[in-house]
């Protein structure tokens, strides 16, 4: 397994945001974490990245224990997060935002070529590379956030609600991009509220409710689950 999370707990004061989450992502796999607002999904991803210290549990990545490892080390090992709300640095240029994604890389030889590839892919970014990222629309910012994460050369990309606030057309674009990146061997851990689309993309998934993992299984079995359908798929 590339990523193994075992009985992870996150607390903020008295709030028990994540209460014993267990999940794994294999090399090259797409795994989904579903759940409503406030279910602890973002806290789970932040704990895996290391910006939030877990109150208990273990995280292993690429064969090594990283539960207490500093964030830069995890990113260097190949773990990257596309955060909720994109978190673009709007006062900096588009190019600078991309470069920040590559900030921790040691092998910088291919970086210019990879930058060009990202500009080829997202022509909206290329035309305005020297402008402050504030000029971008929500969808373009999401592409920039994913491009920034790609430049870290991740083995596992975690995404926190990448479809939030995007038009259906742009959501499709994000999901097909993820499929394409996954085809290149990158594993994906996807946190979403867009349940149906996510389960169509992922191989496996789990459901978080109030910090607890209440369900886990193959994407097909989750899609077929009646309780899940009632709760998240709007089916009656």
């Amino acid at each position: 397994m590339l990523l193994e999370v075992e009985d992870l707990h996150v607390r903020y004061g008295r709030t028990h945001a994540v209460a014993g989450a267990t999940l794994s992502v294999a090399e090259g796999e797409i795994v989904a974490v579903l759940g409503a607002n406030g279910a602890g999904k973002s806290s789970l991803l932040k704990a895996i990245l290391g910006t939030v210290k877990p109150a208990g549990g273990r995280i292993r990545f690429a064969g090594a224990e990283i539960t207490q490892a500093p964030v830069p080390q995890r990113i260097r090992d190949g773990l990257v997060l596309v955060p909720e709300g994109r978190r673009i640095l709007v006062s900096m240029t588009i190019e600078e935002n991309l470069l920040l994604g590559a900030g921790l890389r040691r092998d910088r030889a291919t970086l210019p070529r990879e930058m060009d590839a990202i500009y080829d892919r997202f022509s909206n970014l290329a035309a305005r590379r020297d402008m402050p990222a504030a000029v971008l629309s929500g969808g373009e910012q999401q592409m920039l956030a994913i491009g920034r994460a790609m430049l870290a050369k991740p083995r596992l990309m975690m995404l926190d609600e990448p479809s939030l606030g995007l038009s259906p057309l742009l959501v499709d674009r994000v999901f097909s991009l993820l499929r394409e990146l996954n085809g290149g061997g990158m594993a994906v851990l996807l946190v979403e509220q867009n349940t149906r689309k996510t389960l169509e993309l992922a191989a496996r998934g789990s459901v978080l409710e109030l910090g607890r993992m209440v369900m886990a299984g193959s994407a097909a079995s989750l899609l077929a689950d009646e309780g899940l359908q009632r709760a998240y798929l709007g089916a009656g």
Partner: protein
Amino acid sequence: MILLQQIINGLMLGGLYALVAVSFTFVIGMLNFLNFSIPGIFMLGGMLSWALMVQYALPWYAAVPLALLAGILASLLVERFTYRYMRTRFGDATEHAIPLVSSIGFLILFQGLVQIRWGADLHNFPSPWENTSLRIGGLLISVPQVISLALALTLVFGLTVLLRSTSLGRSLRAVAESPDTAQLLGIDLPRLIPAVFVVAGLLSALAGVLFALNYLQVSPVMGDEISSFAMAAMVVGGLGSVWGAIAGGLLLGLLEVLTIFFLGAKVIKPVVWGALFLLILLRPQGLFGKPSVGRGKF
């Protein structure tokens, strides 16, 4: 000729304000933190150079670097127990005004410690040179003031280049916009943020040394008045703008000296603070500041 001399004096005085103003504005621009310990570090620069030379008989070339080093260490101490303490314990360092208040605490602490050791009096600062002024034509130019102006300009130019075109500068600007996002990108805040305090500590302590060289006097409260003017200079230039702080410092120095020349020393404060008041009414973001985009918690 007298007027020209006054303008030169004003610019030189402004150079000192600018140096302190850059310290204030750099910490605000990077960390959104109004660091009130800066007048204390300014004072440590002057007082410790004096103490090392007069009380411990060190030559100036040993005393000044040691005093600057002490200023940097004091600044790091402030970082550890104000900014970093709040950030590690409560997640956000500047959401509440607590670091601001604790930095005032450090100011009082530094002043108190110096007073306990060396008393509250003014001390004469020994000039390392016979004459610290240069005569060019009929004009008198103070060497420490020229140095402070030149240093302020050089340091700020260096700072601008660093921020604009290096990887370290990119990381610092990312922290300036959002410490949380910077952390998500793997920018190592606990390693990067002390750099901001090192710069601020060095600039303030250096300004204190230059002030002492220029006025040949030091005291535990020497930083108070100049810092209030430096803060005004920072506001004039626009919070967070290092070039604004330079321009604001020079403008304020000129305004002060010309006010004394034309109107007398008694009205300096009404004129300076009145001008600041007017500027805030007309252009609240300062000369070079950008209107706040949802940041700025003060």
